[in-house]
């Protein structure tokens, strides 16, 4: 059994990355039967907790597992699911699977980029939206598909995009 190292979660914590979150991650790692082969599983958990994987979190995981930070970064940068940038309040995912592509998803994402003023994997100035292109979410019958957080919008037309985005913007105003 490979056991996690005894390092204190408190040392790495700062204003943006609160101690409680590190403690939650520490508890998860300490609870694993073995840390051998568990790096990806741990990073999934860390991203669940923090929302993203900033440098300090990666280094914390590396020290905890007793492996080089480069190894952790190597894994984080390899997989598209992991992100090192904070995400907006809502994530807009545009399906770029083949089925959606042939039904016009490329135009949808271009329009969204224009409307939000950002590129893929960027966050809007107000911090409200992150735009992502994703590979097939499997709702090919509804192509082209846009997903905002967990809500799926099917058979999306370019002219409907404003209305969809505004629903989320208006929610914000109400709060």
């Amino acid at each position: 059994m490979t056991k996690p190292a005894e390092i204190s979660a408190a040392e790495t914590a700062n204003e943006n990355l609160p101690k409680e979150k590190f403690e939650e991650l520490e508890k998860f790692i300490n609870g694993l039967e073995t840390t051998k082969g568990a790096l990806i599983e741990i990073l999934h958990k860390a991203q669940d907790i923090f929302g993203y994987l900033p440098r300090d979190v990666q280094l914390y995981v590396a020290r905890k597992l007793g492996i080089p930070g480069a190894e952790v970064f190597g894994v984080v940068s390899f997989y598209s699911y992991f992100t090192t940038k904070p995400r907006g309040k809502h994530t807009i995912s545009v399906c770029m699977g083949t089925a959606c592509f042939v039904r016009g998803a490329d135009k949808i994402i271009e329009r969204l980029k224009e409307k939000l003023g950002i590129e893929s994997n960027e966050i809007t100035e107000d911090g409200l939206f992150t735009l992502k292109d994703v590979r097939c979410i499997g709702a090919c019958g509804l192509a082209p598909v846009v997903m905002i957080d967990d809500k799926v919008y099917g058979r999306v037309k370019e002219e409907e995009l404003d209305e969809i985005i505004n629903t989320y913007r208006n929610q914000e105003v109400k709060h």
Binding site: T98, R135, G141
Partner: protein
């Protein structure tokens, strides 16, 4: 358990959930309760019916009536009219797009007529979150039969005789893979289920896991017994939350009933399964890359040999099979290898599940016997091209495959015939394109995908796909010359021959096959083609002033 006179089955696949089937499910339950029928009629959330285009789908059993595009508001009519008064709700029945003919029963619908469901046998039929329903349909009987009456060798022989080949795309004989792994020395062995379905536009494996997770668990235990493994791993994409959730429920139920764990069916055989999550990397569908990813590392492929059967997960002999392959195992054990081998063509037995998508009327998941023609799939099952437009091509094998045109539509499909016409079986993605699609754009789309997904380990793939993509970009922006096309052709073969794993070796396929079949469309974009003619013949000027004629 209480008895119900009628079951209302609501599709709970990702496609239907996306169009509000959850609300339909809730409304049906609420109204049933309000009308006082909750003890007589049961509402069940099942896996995918396959007819995603017409979702959400609701089926009433035993009346065998299928309702399509059911909205939350339609729940009232289904209960008040169908369930209480016994009258079919006409407006929710499926109508054939051109003829307007209504279909009451599932088997009357052209979409289902030519299908044969083996891997998908329980999808849309059972509640995937209830192990008793799976058992009621003969679930775990195959595992019991194997453990109590068959030797390891018997099991391998049955699978070998059935002629089952890997459904992930490679088509390697499953029985042989099991035999090789079983013969390796060493006590610790692993069996891995590859559920890292990365082909954009394909959702076969996800539908099986969402609709019938127990069939995969059972088959993994059978495979584990055959090769001598006591540990199984399911490697699944993190992007499939619903499939993961249902797998976890299934695992818990199977453990509680002793169908996984120590001494299964009171024999010496112990077996359990772990789930490992992928994190979004197409290359992890390659088995050595998948194993690296299971070990928590970067998902880069290794040079083969040694094959995973010799040295796999943490150095132990490991057998990797695809979800659909596993789903075929229990019926083969129960009905016998002869039954399975009687379906399909000489070298490809059984059925194949395809995710039919793109410019086709009936988008959905279909399972057909090998040897059916593409024309039957596209026109009879798929209902033809959307909007009455003309068919142009169909892409099978996803980013690794090629396009198939009108002239090859009557080829009976199996692993070998698809390769012969310049495409491949692949994992089952089938994208239909119509006359409005530009094939150079399609090739570029696939190249962008493989360029993104190239893991970077070997140079021909890492740099080659990037350069190839740039060349395609040059062509589509109208700046390319004939010399670029020649260079591009050369580069395609360099990438094919020089790459380490399947991703690179197949990455240029979409370009090669579109160049072969739609040469005209490339030519039309080349700037120095002075005299472009319809039949694809051209006269062009080289950089040095010489003339090229075709």
């Amino acid at each position: 358990m209480s008895k119900f006179r009628t079951n209302i089955m609501v599709c709970g696949g990702t496609g239907c959930l996306a169009s509000d089937s959850e609300k339909v499910f809730k409304n049906l339950k609420l109204i049933l309760k309000a009308r006082g029928y909750a003890d007589e009629v049961q509402v069940i959330k099942t896996g995918c019916f396959g007819f995603c285009e017409q979702g959400p789908i609701v089926k009433i059993e035993p009346d065998n009536v299928l309702y399509v595009r059911v909205g939350p508001k339609d729940a009232k009519d289904i209960i008040d009219e169908h369930i209480i008064k016994g009258r079919t709700v006409d407006r929710l029945l499926y109508r054939e797009p051109d003829k307007g003919k209504k279909a009451h029963k599932q088997e009357d619908m052209p979409f289902y007529k030519k299908q044969l469901r083996i891997a998908l046998r329980n999808c849309g039929l059972v509640n995937p979150e209830d192990i008793y329903e799976y058992i009621a349909l003969g679930g775990y009987e195959a595992l019991g039969k194997v453990l109590t009456t068959k030797s390891q060798k018997d099991v391998i022989d049955i699978v070998k005789k059935s002629g089952l080949r890997g459904r992930g795309g490679g088509g390697f004989p499953t029985g042989l893979k099991w035999e090789i792994t079983s013969k390796q020395p060493g006590k610790t062995k692993f069996i891995i289920c590859n559920a890292d379905e990365g082909d954009p536009g394909a959702f076969m494996d996800r539908s099986i896991l969402e609709g019938d997770p127990h069939s995969v668990l059972e088959a993994m235990a059978i495979g584990g017994y055959a090769i001598g493994a006591d540990k199984g791993i399911i490697y699944i994409r993190a992007e499939y939350p619903l499939a993961i959730q249902r797998l976890n429920i299934a695992l818990k139920q199977a453990r509680e009933m002793g169908l996984l764990g120590e001494n299964i069916f009171n024999t010496d055989f112990s077996f359990d399964i772990d789930i490992k999550y992928g994190a979004g990397a197409f290359v992890c569908g390659e088995e050595t890359a998948l194993i690296n990813s299971c070990e928590g590392k970067r998902g880069e492929p290794n040079y083969k040999p040694p094959y995973p059967a010799e040295k796999g997960y943490f150095g132990h002999p490991t057998c990797v099979n695809n979800v659909e392959t596993f789903a075929n195992i229990p019926p083969i054990i129960l009905k016998g290898p002869q039954w399975f081998a009687s379906i399909g063509t000489e070298k490809s037995k059984g059925t194949k599940v395809f995710a039919l998508a793109g410019k086709i009327n009936n988008v959905g998941l279909v399972e057909v016997p090998m040897g059916i023609t593409l024309r039957e799939i596209i026109y009879d099952i798929g209902g033809g091209i959307q909007g009455g437009r003309k068919f142009k091509a169909v892409q099978t094998g996803g980013p690794s495959g090629g396009v198939i045109t009108e002239e090859d539509l009557d080829t009976p499909i199996d692993y070998d015939s698809l390769t012969a016409i310049g495409s491949m079986m692949g994992s089952g993605g089938m994208i239909v394109m119509d006359e409005t699609d530009n094939m150079v754009d399609i090739a570029k789309f696939y190249l962008e995908f493989t360029m993104d997904e190239s893991c970077g380990r070997c140079t021909p793939c890492r740099i080659g796909t990037k350069r190839l993509y740039e060349m395609l970009n040059k062509i589509t922006s109208g700046k390319a010359t004939m010399a670029d096309i020649d260079a591009m052709k050369q580069l395609c073969y360099m990438i094919k021959d020089g790459s380490l794993c399947g991703l690179g070796q197949t990455a240029p396929n979409p370009v090669i096959s579109t160049m072969k079949h739609f040469w005209n469309e490339y030519l039309a974009l080349i700037k120095d083609v002075d005299n472009y003619q319809e039949e694809g013949r051209y006269i062009a000027t080289n950089k040095d002033g010489t003339t090229i004629r075709s």
